[in-house]
Symmetry: C2
Subunit: 355 residues, 2 copies
């Protein structure tokens, strides 16, 4: 299991030398690929695809066949844990995820079970094992989870939200209840990610899509505190190699120092921060992942290449950079533009790794 043919991604996250900057794309398996749509049609709905290890493996590997990517990421949903807790995840056409039994009060929270990863979430572990086997050591496999705060937003709002009215009402009027929920979620995320690592994930990432809607004080209290607990609780070794953990909070450019102080290995950046600024602030502690605006993939190849070069020059010399988009790839991006992006990262980064 130790013979990883391309370990640039793992090395960069540990700030070890690499030949070129590794690159992957958030949501690299997805609707912008016609082969994904075909597999999904075969599976039926989205969760059926997640729950079928063979098909989840198939869509995980699809982007690797098209593009020279340096990592694979488990195909799954960030809301598997609340679904396993019994909240009834479902998807309505064009409306994003919803829960049929959202959390409304302290009693709901007290009654939440802690899902056993090898029972209620075994389908995820089966997908990890299947993908890992089929990857045949080509590139490392990334496991992931939503952050406690981000999971809680969906669990309390009942789905996507713009103003986060319900969870903020709870945060400001019944903070004890919310803290109990977040603590339970952190415990479940630790179990879940450790099970993914045991099943074969060589790196893990925590997605905090909605931490950026909080004030700096509330971010520390309601989001970062629980991601810190997760970092502390993870098994950090697999097959004799360190398992790097990356934390990503969207719209958190002002809070990078506190994220880096959790002991994570990598910090994900969205595109609203200059990567040279981020490197100057936390580049001696953590690797940085990012950070091209996903909408740049709508542009012409020359413009995409130019943007990649600007970001590479911003990070400058030395290891510690995993190139990525600043958020998930859009569903209507031409796949050939994604190829231009991935190839440009390798082509133009070699000059920064000669030292």
């Amino acid at each position: 299991m130790n013979s990883l043919k391309n370990d640039r991604y793992l090395r960069a996250l540990l700030r070890q030398p690499v030949d070129v900057t590794p690159v992957w794309m958030m949501r690299q398996a997805g609707r912008y690929l016609p082969e994904y749509k075909a597999t999904r049609a075969q599976a039926g709905d989205f969760m059926s695809l997640c729950k079928n290890a063979e098909l989840a493996c198939e869509v995980t590997l699809q982007p690797l066949r098209r593009f020279d990517l340096d990592a694979a990421i488990l195909f799954s949903d960030i809301l598997t844990i609340p679904d396993a807790m019994g909240l009834g995840l479902y998807f309505e056409q064009g409306e994003g995820p919803k829960f049929s039994k959202p959390i409304t009060c302290m009693a709901d929270i007290q009654n939440l079970p802690a899902p056993d990863p090898e029972q209620e979430l075994q389908y995820v572990m089966n997908a990890v094992r299947t993908i890992r086997k089929n990857l045949q050591g080509e590139v490392p496999l990334i496991g992931f989870s939503g952050s406690p705060w981000t999971l809680a937003t969906y669990m309390i709002e009942g789905g996507s939200s713009k103003a986060f009215t319900k969870i903020k009402k709870m945060a400001f009027s019944d903070p004890k209840a919310l803290h109990l929920l977040l603590d339970k979620l952190a415990d479940s995320v630790i179990l879940y990610l450790n099970a993914q690592i045991a099943a074969g994930a060589q790196s893990v990432m925590v997605f905090d899509t909605w931490g950026g809607v909080l004030s700096p004080r509330d971010y520390q209290d309601f989001s970062l505190q629980y991601m810190h607990k997760i970092v502390d609780g993870l098994t950090r070794e697999n097959d004799g190699r360190k398992v790097p953990v990356t934390l990503f909070t969207k719209n958190a450019g002002m809070w990078l120092e506190s994220i880096a102080a959790t002991g994570c290995d990598g910090v994900g950046l969205d595109w609203t921060i200059d990567i040279d600024n981020a490197k100057a602030r936390v580049g001696d502690k953590v690797a940085l992942q990012g950070n091209m605006d996903p909408s740049m993939l709508y542009a012409a190849p020359e413009r995409i290449e130019q943007e990649v070069q600007t970001i590479l020059a911003g990070f400058g010399e030395g290891p510690g950079h995993v190139f990525n988009l600043g958020h998930g790839i859009h569903l209507d991006v031409p796949p050939e533009n994604a190829k231009v992006f991935v190839d440009a990262v390798h082509k133009y980064s070699a000059q920064y790794h000669k030292g």
Copy 2:
């Protein structure tokens, strides 16, 4: 016209001494007030309310009758300019603003007229004159406009957006067309705000709701550049007093230095930045407006008072602070909580203005 009874708001924006910190609330006239709903029902739809000077004046004054606010803000919509350009603004129940004739290409942009503020937008100027007369010098009147970038997002997307796909496609594939649109909008905003000032607005504010979805480079290029042009083009005097201008970009905490460098008087802050951090960075150049999370108004009175005190202590001694929410008040906030907020600002701020 010179006898303004309460000029705290204007003085604070010019960083002159005040007795207590002035306070107003973005969207202080609105659906959280039952009297607003009654007036709006009388007007018919939202734009009919905006276009009726007497009723627009009535809803502008309603929050001043309930709360001890230090400024009134013109009741209008940020999309009046594109509507006057002929794009056909309409509102669909629960869906936000839409345009029946969105911008799709360079030819559309070349054909856009520059609305005459005293012709196509005369209803706004009539509202300003009516409100100013009825205010009887109690507090200053704030005029406003959307920023060119923010107006352009609605004009190109055809309404609200999450990913800003269409405008970013234009930004990255046909930047010349977008720059022409933004420049035309900046010119129209200058005419519009200068007409509001001539009609009686004693301060103006530019709302850049969506500048924060850009990268730092693209923000400079597509949003801030045009707000800078507006600041340069404004008449900055009225009735022998300076007319302060405030720029507000949501999610722009990392870019405060460049916003302050435009020559504006005030910079609006959302709640994702600590105000002491903002003051340390730009407080010697501009006044700061903000920055309580609007969702804090869901909390109990004691919690609201505590948050007000935290923000006041963060700003600390001296003038240059206009208290506000970090964004518009939510439509389901109890009005009595807004009163707790406004009163707390005055009650707890006097100690910081003794110098």
